[in-house]
């Protein structure tokens, strides 16, 4: 290692599993382990933070109904805001991702994870839920303008004994590490951040400086409406 060694990748794992350990968390951990191994091969270290949504479920519910963000929730959001990559894993209930999972992402500032690489993972009791990631979860992350990797990782009970799952995890880890290595999110921030729609507070105060050169600002300072 020399003085120009790259900063470690900051990996954040979001798990909406409910037991301890849950298969949802196990799936996330397998992706995370494979990601670390692969990154190490590329001479890259990884630091990871795990957000078990089960532990902040009441805080998430409070934030949804009262606009109030608890210190624990603020810490979780701050970790996401600094992530170089995100692994988001949820159980599937009633043909959709857990409400705990979607509620957490519902309360995030809209601009918090623009262009960040995301691995989506889901577990279910039946293979019939297999399209939940592609049909339902991708659209939420599209709204957040995150960059979901091409491979979705879904595990029904039969997948846990199937080497096919490992192959998909390997493939996902390659996609994920390459995206993180490219520095895409950071480059977007440097090169094109202003071109996204931002509102005051839409990325926890890091969204942008307050823009003075706008029609509304001119109207505020006594000008006419455009």
């Amino acid at each position: 290692m020399n003085s120009t060694a790259p900063d470690p990748f900051k990996l954040v794992i979001v798990s909406a599993g409910t037991s301890d350990p849950s298969s949802t968390r196990l799936l996330a951990d397998r992706i995370s382990d494979r990601t670390c191994e692969l990154a190490a091969c590329h001479g890259q270290t990884v630091t990871s933070t795990v957000l078990e949504l089960r532990e902040i479920a009441a805080d998430i519910a409070s934030a949804l109904v009262s606009q109030l963000t608890s210190p624990r929730l603020r810490a979780a959001i701050a970790a996401l805001g600094e992530a170089d990559g995100i692994i988001a894993s949820t159980p599937v209930y009633k043909a959709g991702p857990s409400g705990l999972f979607t509620s957490f992402f519902d309360i995030l500032d809209d601009d918090l994870i623009i262009a960040r690489p995301v691995v989506l993972a889901a577990t279910a009791g039946t293979a019939r839920h297999g399209l939940v990631i592609d049909d339902q979860m991708r659209s939420m992350f599209a709204y957040l303008r995150a960059l979901v990797i091409p491979t979705s990782l879904f595990a029904a009970p039969e997948d846990w004994g199937d080497p096919g799952l490992n192959k998909r995890i390997d493939r996902a880890a390659v996609e994920f590490v390459l995206l993180m290595e490219s520095g895409f999110a950071r480059k977007i921030r440097d090169a094109s951040w202003e071109s996204y729609q931002h509102e005051y507070g839409s990325a926890g105060g890091t969204e942008t400086d307050i823009e003075l050169d706008t029609d509304l600002m001119r109207l505020a300072a006594g000008g006419g409406a455009g």
């Binding site: 109030l68 006419g224 409406a225």
Partner: protein, 395 residues
């Protein structure tokens, strides 16, 4: 530093007695609450504006005129007056009238309002809320400063040769606060005109307010009204006070747990930790309130929310006894000892008259004679300058 109370005007079921007050009882109660605020030495009473149940305050100037007539020193104000759905011409007229009747013991706070259905009831569109608010205020600002206004904008029918009557008391416009929790354009407008900026401070993590108030202060200085420290800032807060904190917490909890907006969500303890809410002894409320200036800088007006969530009138009056009798006197003393000497006092009618006229007598407009068609001709007042000629539309 001014201290006072602000009310949302909610009519909420008392979760302890199970009783919902009638509109009549709640309106009588709010008058009593304002009078009590005056009796215990608070400086300001402010009322919200709403146009749907369960609120009663659709007509703030009527209420505030009555209150000012039955109080001695209290400044009456609003929190907020809707600059979006009200016609700025009517705001100019109604609040100038209130200013005359209260002998200048009034100001007002403008806000946009966030109840979507209200906009179409008044012929407006919530999607245009921000430019509407900005344009309306630009007009309102002129109506109070120019005897004759010709105006054309996007959101209101044009004005030709219009004079808003009565002219402001002593020809000094009411002081205006702009309330906002997340809109830089509103902070910019407040700064541009040298008006006050108020952050309600009740819900959000304070970092948002801190940033917005800092922006307002910078822009206030940029527009040449004074230094950043001389900008005029107001803050909200919320308190429930008892002699000792155990009683305060026991008494307030059922109201907190059932409160509109934040009830059935966070615990009261979490809410106290995360927001300006103080539930406790006078000393605890004092200690917490004194931290506000550390976050926002020295400021001019502190308003407390004291009468919401179904608290019955006798309880609110007891609260005001404690607030005015024990909390605010200490806050005044401690704030004075701690604040930067450069900190200005909140503007009042007397200070604005002094600033405009010095020791000269204020202007007292007298209209010219009615020409017989109920207008005064080209020049509305005997002392109107020759340049302010009204140019009436052709009929």
């Amino acid at each position: 530093m001014q201290f006072g109370i602000f009310s949302v005007s909610d009519i909420t079921r008392d979760p302890v007695s199970g009783e919902t007050p009638t509109e009549a009882a709640r309106i009588d109660a709010i008058v009593r609450i304002a009078q009590k605020a005056d009796e215990v030495g608070l400086d300001v009473f402010a009322i919200g504006e709403h146009h749907n149940p369960p609120f009663f305050s659709s007509s703030p100037t009527t209420l505030l005129a009555f209150i000012s007539a039955t109080t001695k020193k209290l400044i009456v104000s609003t929190a907020t007056t809707l600059i979006t759905t009200n016609d700025p011409v009517r705001i100019a007229e109604e609040y100038a009238m209130l200013q005359h009747l209260s002998k200048g013991r009034m100001d007002l706070m403008l806000g946009r309002g966030n109840t979507a259905p209200v906009y179409p009831w008044f012929g407006q569109d919530i999607r245009q809320s921000l430019p509407l608010a900005l344009e309306h205020y630009n007009l309102l600002h002129r109506l109070w400063r120019e005897d004759v206004v010709d105006w054309e904008g996007k959101y209101r029918t044009p004005l030709q040769g219009f004079t808003s009557v009565p002219r402001p008391l002593d020809d000094v416009p009411p002081f205006v606060w702009h309330g906002s929790i997340r809109t830089p354009e509103i902070a910019e407008q407040a700064a541009y005109y040298g008006d006050g900026f108020f952050a309600n401070n009740i819900f959000w993590p304070k970092e948002h307010y801190v940033r917005l108030i800092r922006f307002y202060r910078q822009r206030y200085a940029y527009y040449g009204h004074g230094t950043e420290k001389q900008a005029i800032v107001g803050l909200g807060g919320q308190a429930y006070i008892a002699r000792n904190s155990q009683d305060a917490i026991r008494e307030f909890r059922p109201y907190f747990d059932d409160a509109p907006v934040y009830g059935h969500g966070p615990t009261m303890e979490d809410f106290m930790e995360m927001t300006p809410l103080s539930v406790g002894s006078p000393q605890e409320v004092i200690d917490k309130t004194l931290t506000f200036r550390e976050n926002f800088g020295d400021y001019q007006r502190q308003l407390f929310l004291m009468d919401h969530a179904g608290l019955p009138l006798p309880t609110v009056l007891d609260q005001l006894e404690l607030l005015g009798g024990e909390v605010v006197p200490v806050l005044r003393k401690e704030t004075e000892a701690r604040q930067d000497p450069e900190t200005p006092a909140a503007p009042t009618h007397a200070s604005l008259v002094k600033a405009k006229y010095g020791d000269q007598a204020p202007r007292q407009p007298r209209p010219n004679a009615n020409r017989g068609d109920n207008v005064t001709g080209g020049s509305p007042y005997q002392d109107s300058s020759a340049e302010t000629q009204a140019d009436y539309p052709d009929l």
